[in-house]
Amino acid sequence: MSERSELVLDTENPPSVPAERIGDIKPALLLSEDHDLCPGCGEPLALRMMLEAIEELAMAQRTIGVVGIGCYTALTSIMDVDLVQALHGRAPSLATGAKRMRPDELIFTLQGDGDMVNEGLQEVIHAAARGESITCVLLNNGVFGETGGHMTATTVIGQRTKNTIEGRNAEYHGHPILIAEMLAQLGGAAYVARCGVYNAGEIARTKRVLKKAFQTQIDGKGFSFVEILTMCPTGWFIPTQEGPDYLDNVLGAVHKLGELKAPSEETD
């Protein structure tokens, strides 16, 4: 397991491409820039990186996404790729059936931590163990955001949620599941990484990681998994602007960022 990558600023060489304002760029695979998620939410950022990754790999017309149920589900109406809506927790089995019938397409799942790690844990584990040639993307904010901030299987010890009012207590509520670490142990998993969309460097790295995961699938190397830590200031009960720091210091301290497994020696 590699240590969390540090953000390094290269002040010696000028940038090779001119700077662009992020607000000026509209990803080609987004039908609208409007969304109804809360201010400070990390999910639209993660989604944007995913759509840009698909676009940059020239896979827009060779992709089927299977979407779980959470706040991000509201974004399916504006994602311009073919999609199938799954039941809560069930995206990996749908993705399996789709991949087996369409082996040449890029098949991904988009799931939250409640979806993937609570309700559907067995699905993602078996898909990884089978070495199913799909990419599972987890948006992990350690909380059921859509229901208003309740404990999930990835909620960290001490984290306050609506049903762990005094903070998650290991003795009473049990321990969080570190899903990336679990999946990395399985023989069929070829690429496993965790990133977070809490600062510019990590946002950029998220896209690189997603591209590597998709490339792993395109190259037929096996199951790939990307966990993206996303801010949920509403579900964390903190001021919006504190979301990135909370992600870094609280969630990120337990769910450590980094590449856990890659098909080649080359890690990001």
């Binding site: 069930r90 089995s93 399996t96 059936g97």
Partner: protein
């Protein structure tokens, strides 16, 4: 004509593959297991896929994903395994996916599950209950056609005897009228154009904000009403002048039909009525068949489930009595002492008499 001695499971899998089924996923459970074995054997030979899923829930999920791409796909189990699939069975009905699924049931106690379902919301499935292996071959092919025609799940309700009995059958391809293109399926090619699709159970359209649940559910209800109007199937014999009409389905009906024919030969005025579709129930046909009858007797191998639909069909025209009941072997696989023509004859004769459980 080339007839082969085949077990029901083998014949049904062969019929499914002949009908174009290219994907199957399942989890072993008696007496469904042999169907899974046969799909695992037959599908790779036609470049199809059969997956040993980690549970029934994943099995139906995998079929769901395969169906979304436009493939013909199926799953199945016993009633116990289908109990696990209920959430998916209801939700993929609202996704309008043409799933075919088999219940190789442990007897007839899954009638309510098959016809009422245990999932959430308003939904309906066509349920076909073959009487023997020959009919199972036909109904399996019909199931794939109906599923695609209505974009709705179709269940084949069989049992231990159907799955495990060898009969001389010919698995012959049935030609159905042409079906429309699957213009709703996703093949991954439509991104980046603004025409990408989202197969979902809430009637959501891409690029449109908000949904219209009521409008969507009413549209599905209208479809299910149209299915109910046009897809009821039945078989009947000797009902015209019958004093007693015996109603039975599936394997049980095979025994009932035999005994009714035997009694007719002796001049006893009994009739036989079999719903081939458990949903939609052939209510109008049954009401008509029972028009002159003094009594209607329901022979089903359970505590009394289909009798509800018989009563709803007859609407008080004649008393409806149960001549069936729970009857099981020691293993609970549904081959009870009731599967004996002398037992059934005695029950039908009792139904003709004054005694019995009047409605």
């Amino acid at each position: 004509m080339t007839r082969k001695l085949m077990e029901g499971s083998e014949a049904m899998a062969e019929a499914a593959v002949m009908a174009g089924c290219r994907f199957f996923a399942g989890y072993p459970m008696t007496p469904f297991t042999e169907l899974l074995e046969n799909f695992a054997k037959q599908l790779p030979a036609v470049d199809g896929v059969s997956i040993n899923a980690e549970s029934e829930i994943e099995a139906i999920g995998m079929a769901w994903g395969a169906l979304a791409t436009g493939a013909r796909a199926a799953t199945g189990s016993t009633g116990q395994g289908l109990a696990l699939m209920q959430e998916s069975l209801s939700e993929l009905t609202r996704s309008e996916l043409p799933l075919v699924y088999f219940n190789m049931a442990r007897g007839q106690y899954d009638y309510y599950q098959a016809t009422r379902g245990g999932g959430h919301g308003d939904y309906r499935h066509i349920v076909l209950a073959p009487i023997d292996v020959h009919e199972a071959v036909e109904l399996t092919q019909l199931a794939f056609d109906l599923a695609d025609r209505w974009r709705n799940p179709v269940q084949i309700y069989g049992d231990y005897l159907l799955a495990h009995t060898c009969e001389a059958v010919e698995v012959k391809r049935i030609e159905f009228p042409p079906l429309p293109e699957k213009s709703w399926a996703v093949d991954g090619s439509l991104g980046g154009t603004g025409k990408s699709r989202n197969i979902n159970p809430i009637g959501m359209t891409k690029g449109t904000k908000g949904i219209d649940p009521e409008g969507f559910w009413l549209r599905l209800q209208a479809k299910h009403d149209a299915m109910q109007e046009s897809e009821a199937r039945f078989e009947s014999e000797h009902c015209e002048d019958a004093e007693l009409v015996v109603v039975a389905f599936g394997t049980m009906a095979r025994f009932a039909r035999y005994v009714v024919r035997e009694l007719r030969n002796e001049g006893v005025r009994v009739g036989y009525f079999r719903p081939i579709t458990l949903w939609p129930y052939p209510s109008a046909a049954l009401k008509n068949a029972a028009r002159g009858a003094r009594r209607v007797a329901v022979l089903e191998q359970n505590a009394g489930q289909m009798i509800d639909d018989v009563r709803l069909s007859i609407l008080g025209d004649a008393p409806v009595v149960s001549i069936g009941g729970i009857s099981s072997d020691e293993a609970g696989f549904g081959i009870g002492p009731i599967f004996d023509t002398s037992v059934i004859r005695e029950r039908i004769e009792r139904g003709l008499g004054a005694e019995g459980n009047h409605s």
